[in-house]
Amino acid sequence: MSSKYDVLVIGGGNAALCAAIAARRGGASVLVLEGAPKFYRGGNTRHTRNMRCAHDAATEILTGPYTEEEFWEDLLRVTGGQTDEVLARHMIRESKDILNWIVEQGVRWQPSLGGTLSLGRTNSFFLGGGRAMLNALYLTAERLGVEVEYDAEVTDLVIEDGMFLAARLKRPVKGETEIRATSLVAAAGGFEANIEWLKQYWGEAADNFLIRGTPYNRGSILKMLLDKGVQEVGDPTQCHAVAIDARAPKFDGGIITRHDSVVFGIVVNKHAQRFYDEGEDIWPKRYAIWGRLVAAQPDQIAYIIFDSTVVTSFMPTLFPPIAGQTIAELAGKLELDPAALEKTITEFNAAVRPGTFDYTILDDCVTEGITPPKTHWARRIETPPYLAYPVRPGITFTYLGTRVTKEARMLMAGGKPSANMFAAGEIMAGNVLGKGYAAGMGMTIGSVFGRIAGREAAKHARN
């Protein structure tokens, strides 16, 4: 390792690698510091599967056009307007070119996966998934001459007056060292794996959160930057959180612990009470609200309950459903009050009105006279065996971040742009995502701002 680089990239995921490649292609010498060991490199990118990019026509793998305007409207809808329009529109415009650029970096696409038809027009899927995408980016980066160091824990950043000077690094074998660079790209993710930090906003409830992705996103770089005067963006309680199987590991369970069965049954809390309309909207559109809903329930646990008639209606699951021949038996296995669960299901069944069931549309199967109602796909739960999945909040990533400009340049607390510090990916996702989420956007933010950050960082370094 030489002692000074043009561009130092901290982080090792999609955003970091896009930045490193763009900077190297821009003529800069680049060092990537990945805090994780080689196998776990890439943060949450390992668990991703697609990217949402605007395109004006169908492609080999995308079934139709997805215009900039439509992308913008989707973003506006999911965030409820909590987004930076200038930045967001810039990202959407750039995303069109990313669709090709990322392929030039060795990433390969495949048609939308079985069970994801609703994304076939808007989202491009990585062949082999996110880790395959990362492998391709790492191969390209290394071929271009980007240096990569794993297990590289950054312990401090030397920043003076909004100017990055050096990073202090603790390495398992070679010990402590200081690395100077002309520009910094911070692409080290959010803080979702830092339970203590989550507790500042969520209290003890955070102990019951499961972290769907990398255990290495502890937000240490984000914290250093904010402590050293970089302007904060985003609501610290906002994150992408879904309901995942309560039997999933604490960290890194990835996508396979999710459940798609909510719309086919009811969801009850530990008191066997329903608490939200399970049939509010088509599942992919409501998928990402259930993490927060479950987080608000006592002990942050809930149970999706359905019967044997619907088991083949959703994707196969990693963990099998818990089964009981009677509601009481099922309640016993779930450690719920049998009488309370029987009462909830009896009342629910009595409230179901006749209708024509069709889970591909907002059908007319509704309940009447119960609170909360189930406004679509309401059918009686009456055919044993009765089945259940226990679920907990699964945190995918956090939105608190560093404020950036269109050039991915960090803004300092006073509003002054930093001379040489750039940010990309989850660490600045809050600029675009005030709240809410639409599938594949995290990767769009990563690739688009990663590429911009790398380009700008190299430009700064070579001036």
């Binding site: 395959a132 890194d252 083949t312």
Partner: protein, 366 residues
């Protein structure tokens, strides 16, 4: 629960993979998996034989070891595949040959070559054995053509019978419909898929062997081996037709069809196995069924030996070495034939059947 530990593990992995599906575009295994929600022994043996061991799903998987989900599809399916060879072997009494296959193949090959040498020595005068023979019928001065034809036909027909019985059991197990017949279109599709090794490609970039950089080396050497074998088989077939239809006796001049085919095939059967063996030595142990090293190497060695002795025979057929070399070559070929149903050779047969089944399933699903 399944009959064996490895099938339990394969079932566990397919459940993990079926709830992920990221590898759907890499090969045929994952789309076939997605057509099922639960997996019978037959289903798992089908998927195991459909896998071409390109390794891409291991390199691409976010859950491969050291992740606690410990997803290693190529290794698990490699073990399941090898166990399926024994499970479907006919007659079942000989399925044990797969247990210590390297040893079995070596012993059979050694005995076979020894038998031919001793037989040649016992039945031929020393002057004949070490004599220089040229012109039509030269080989048959050491072993009468009819004896050769009878012996090898018997060995070959036995191999065919055993293979047919084995693959029939496999085919019945990977139904439904039970005992269903394969249609022409599916067979044609499977011939194309097998002929180009369509699924030994890591989804387009090549397969993984010693590291995370994909190459097409294994595919290349497999093509040399397979087409080398086919050419050698064609050479023998043409020569048989020459013999019986045209009454033209071997050896033939170098420019004649059997020799041209045999020479090209022989080159493939020598270089292909060397390449495959080298790739195997360098292969990441994480992807391998290491306990079956002997089976893999045994088969590679048999093909190499067949090619090598054949080529030497061609080069030295007009010298005194012809007699001993003919004995060695015939010994090698005889051993190759009779061990076909009880060694790595069967991988091609089962994989082909799995490809036919897959083509069928795709047509039904479409």
């Amino acid at each position: 629960m399944h009959g064996t530990r490895i099938l339990d593990e394969a079932d566990r992995l397919m459940t993990v993979c079926n709830s992920c599906r990221y590898c759907e575009g890499l090969c045929a295994v994952f789309p076939a998996m997605e057509m099922r929600r639960a997996f019978s022994d037959g289903d798992l043996n089908y998927l195991a034989n459909l896998c071409h061991a390109c390794g891409a799903c291991y390199v691409d998987c976010q859950f491969s070891p050291p992740h606690e989900f410990n997803v290693n599809v190529p290794k698990t399916l490699a073990i399941a595949r090898a166990e399926s060879y024994a499970a479907y072997a006919w007659p079942q009494a000989l399925s044990g040959a797969f247990a210590r296959n390297g040893l079995v193949i070596s012993v059979v090959a050694a005995l076979s070559m020894a038998a031919f040498i001793l037989g040649f020595a016992a039945l031929n005068d020393r002057n004949v054995l070490f004599g220089v023979h040229t012109g039509p019928g030269a080989f048959y001065r050491l072993m009468p053509h009819n004896a050769m034809a009878a012996l090898f036909s018997a060995a070959f027909l036995y191999a065919i019978l055993a293979l047919v019985m084995s693959v029939r059991a496999f085919w019945r197990d990977i139904g439904p419909p039970i005992g269903g017949r394969a249609d022409g279109g599916s067979i044609f599709q499977a011939i194309r898929d097998a002929g180009e090794l369509r699924y030994l490609h890591g989804g387009g970039v090549g397969c993984y062997n010693e590291d995370d950089k994909p190459t097409d080396r294994r595919k290349f050497f497999h093509h040399l081996t397979f087409y080398g074998f086919i050419l050698c088989f064609a050479a023998t077939s043409v020569a048989t037709l020459y013999h019986y239809l045209l009454a033209r006796e071997a050896p033939y001049p170098w420019w004649d069809l059997p020799v041209v085919l045999g020479t090209l095939g022989g080159v493939g059967l020598i270089t292909g196995p060397i390449g495959l063996f080298t790739a195997k030595l360098r292969r990441d142990p994480a992807l391998l069924d290491e306990t079956r090293h002997g089976m893999d190497v045994g088969f590679i060695a048999m093909l190499f030996l067949t090619g090598l002795t054949g080529m030497l025979l061609l080069l030295l057929r007009e010298t005194a070495a012809m007699g001993p070399l003919l004995a060695l070559h015939l010994g090698a070929v005889f051993a190759l034939f009779i061990t076909m149903p009880y060694g790595k050779f069967v991988h091609g047969i089962y994989r082909f059947a799995a490809l036919v089944r897959y083509a069928q399933e795709r047509r039904t699903a479409a």
